[in-house]
């Protein structure tokens, strides 16, 4: 009796210690970046948790010489633009993939998964020469088009999952009542799967916001935030970690908030429903 109780206590303590380790491993790098963003230059070079907090870094990244304001706008406009094109197109296609049977359907569905796997560097090589020719280098629309390559297929899969889960009888009833197929879509199906559409929009936003390679290759002055950070990393006086961290906070905090809202879809979403 006593030994089993002892084992329970030991188990409980071990579990709490394990949790502490996870907390440190997962949380510490994030915490350290956040703390550093609020430090003066001299404190950023110390390992101390005690320091005088300052907002100076956030002021300096939105003022010359390293003004990140245009980069922030670019990141926002490009991410929103990607969502605005990818999600509606994906929703229409997802409906067809979910409700109808047609030739090459399975082949296209598999192609959609494949788009997530192909190393992006393969995609960007042809676009580099194409964009040079078309004058789309360093343009927002050029990046939005490139971002559709991964965000739209992903959104098709995700939204298809939501439509699959919707009983077809609801749509049939509306059709009996005299709705055209398009009216069914607009007034019945899409409103009912709105949570799915919003979820896929958030995934698309995160993907575009975090993207790095396409933006690095096709932009020179019209950078996004992630690529803009490269400027701070290669300064003559060494990396300015406190300014860098301030940009890092701007890059990660919106994504953390957004990812919390799609918490329940996180696990299944990423693998496109492979793990349930």
């Amino acid at each position: 009796m006593n030994s089993s109780r002892l084992r329970k206590v030991v188990g409980e303590v071990a579990n709490k210690l394990g949790m502490l380790c996870i907390l440190l491993f997962v949380g510490f790098p994030i915490l350290w970046v956040v703390l550093t963003a609020f430090k003066y230059h001299k404190d950023a070079r110390s390992a101390s948790f005690l320091f005088t907090p300052t907002l100076q870094n956030f002021v300096s990244i939105f003022n010359p010489p390293y003004d990140f304001t245009p980069y922030l706008w670019n990141s926002l406009i490009i991410s929103i633009g990607t969502v605005a094109i990818a999600v509606p197109l994906a929703a229409l296609a997802a409906y067809a993939f979910s409700r109808f049977h047609f030739r090459f359907k399975n082949a296209i569905m598999i192609l959609l998964i494949a788009t997530q796997f192909i190393a992006p560097v393969v995609i960007v090589i042809p676009f580099f020469t194409l964009y040079s020719r078309l004058g789309l280098m360093d343009s927002r629309i050029g990046l939005i088009i490139l971002y559709l390559s991964f965000s739209m297929p992903f959104a098709v899969w995700m939204i298809k999952g939501f439509i699959d889960a919707l009983p077809i009888e609801i749509e049939e009833a509306a059709q009996v009542d005299g709705c055209t197929p398009f009216m069914v879509l607009r007034h019945v199906t899409f409103p009912l799967i709105m949570p799915g559409i919003i979820t896929s929009a958030i995934f698309a936003f995160i993907g575009a916001w975090n993207e790095f390679l396409f933006a690095m290759v096709t932009t020179t002055t019209n950078k996004t935030l992630t690529v803009g950070m490269m400027i701070l990393a290669y300064q003559l006086e060494g990396v300015q970690w406190e300014t860098m961290s301030a940009v890092g906070v701007i890059v990660m905090i919106p994504i953390f908030i957004l990812s919390l809202t799609i918490r329940d879809h996180f696990v299944n979403g990423i693998t496109m429903g492979a793990v349930k």
Binding site: L92, P126, I145, S149, L213, M252, L260, M272, K276
Partner: protein, 292 residues
């Protein structure tokens, strides 16, 4: 007939996007991979040279090196992500508010921009003011003189750690999801029969996870082969060429040497390897009824 045109109208825009952003670049790259084309000399692709670019790749010391680096990186990052993911899942797979809070926290490293992951860990490991570097110096004095990102093996290891830091928490969430479907009766019965934790793990928990283990291993392998951002933001491929992955080598060939033909051939070799894994993955996906 009307419904047929309706269907077409629904998928046509999406098909157009796939055609333009995936099929076109893939076909174009394939063609270019058989051509000689240096962008600094000409804006148009040069003559077709059959397999010259591919043959060149397999005789190129740096390309072979990047293949070896990629295999090492993939093996380290996949195995560490899975094992650590399993450990995290076993610790957090219990009811309670604390465990729930921790599960929420697990989302963050995965959601963070990979480029930022690279910067973050570079900062933590910095020899003069990196926090992690100091901790290691204090706890393991013999390691005090190691400049982490200047040592070839350590640089590759830490590059893998940035990847594991993002993925182990995600994989843990996948495992926790799968453990939720495990029958509690079986666990209780085993406990009544006097099974200890290790026996429970070996005979009940691991068999429950086996199908998902295969899927997630393939999935993670494909993503490890894709990893790129952290190489740029953390090591720049260095020291020397110690962390130059295939992706990074293709990038350098294309956008530092502007040797587009050769870069395309290198890229296609990578794609073929990825496709092998993707075929297995799609099979495991279809096997589970993912696509109807």
């Amino acid at each position: 007939m009307r419904s047929k045109s309706f269907r077409f109208a629904l998928i046509a825009p999406a098909l157009l996007v796939i055609l333009g952003t995936t099929i076109y670049p893939l076909v174009y790259s394939l063609l270019v991979s058989f051509q000689r084309w240096n962008l600094t000399k000409s804006t148009e692709p040069g003559p077709f040279v059959a397999l010259e670019n591919y043959v060149r790749a397999f005789g190129d010391k740096n390309f072979i090196n990047s293949g070896v680096v990629t295999v090492k990186f993939t093996v380290i990052s996949v195995s560490m992500s899975i094992v650590l993911g399993l450990v995290i899942a076993l610790i957090l797979n219990r009811p309670g508010r604390l465990a729930d809070l921790m599960k929420t926290l697990l989302i963050f490293p995965f959601a963070m921009a990979p480029a930022l992951k690279g910067f973050t860990w570079r900062f933590l490991l910095d020899g003069s003011f990196g926090f992690l570097d100091r901790i290691i110096d204090t706890l393991f004095p013999p390691m005090a003189n190691i400049a982490w990102l200047a040592s070839p093996n350590w640089a590759l290891f830490w590059l893998a750690v940035t990847e594991v830091w993002g993925w182990a928490p995600y994989i843990a969430l996948v495992f926790i999801g799968a453990l939720g479907t495990m029958s509690t009766e079986m666990v209780d019965a085993a406990k009544v029969d006097g099974a200890n934790s290790l026996q429970l793990l070996w005979h009940i928990i691991l068999p429950t996870l086996t199908p998902i283990l295969l899927v997630i291993t393939l999935f993670k392998t494909i993503y490890s082969l894709k990893m790129f951002d952290q190489v740029v933001t953390m090591t720049g491929g260095g020291p020397g060429r110690a962390t130059e992955t295939l992706n990074f080598t293709v990038y350098r060939t294309a956008f530092a040497n502007f040797d587009m033909g050769y870069a395309s051939a290198q890229a296609y070799i990578l794609v073929i390897v990825q496709l092998l894994f993707a075929v297995f993955y799609v099979r495991s996906l279809l096997g589970k009824g993912g696509a109807k």
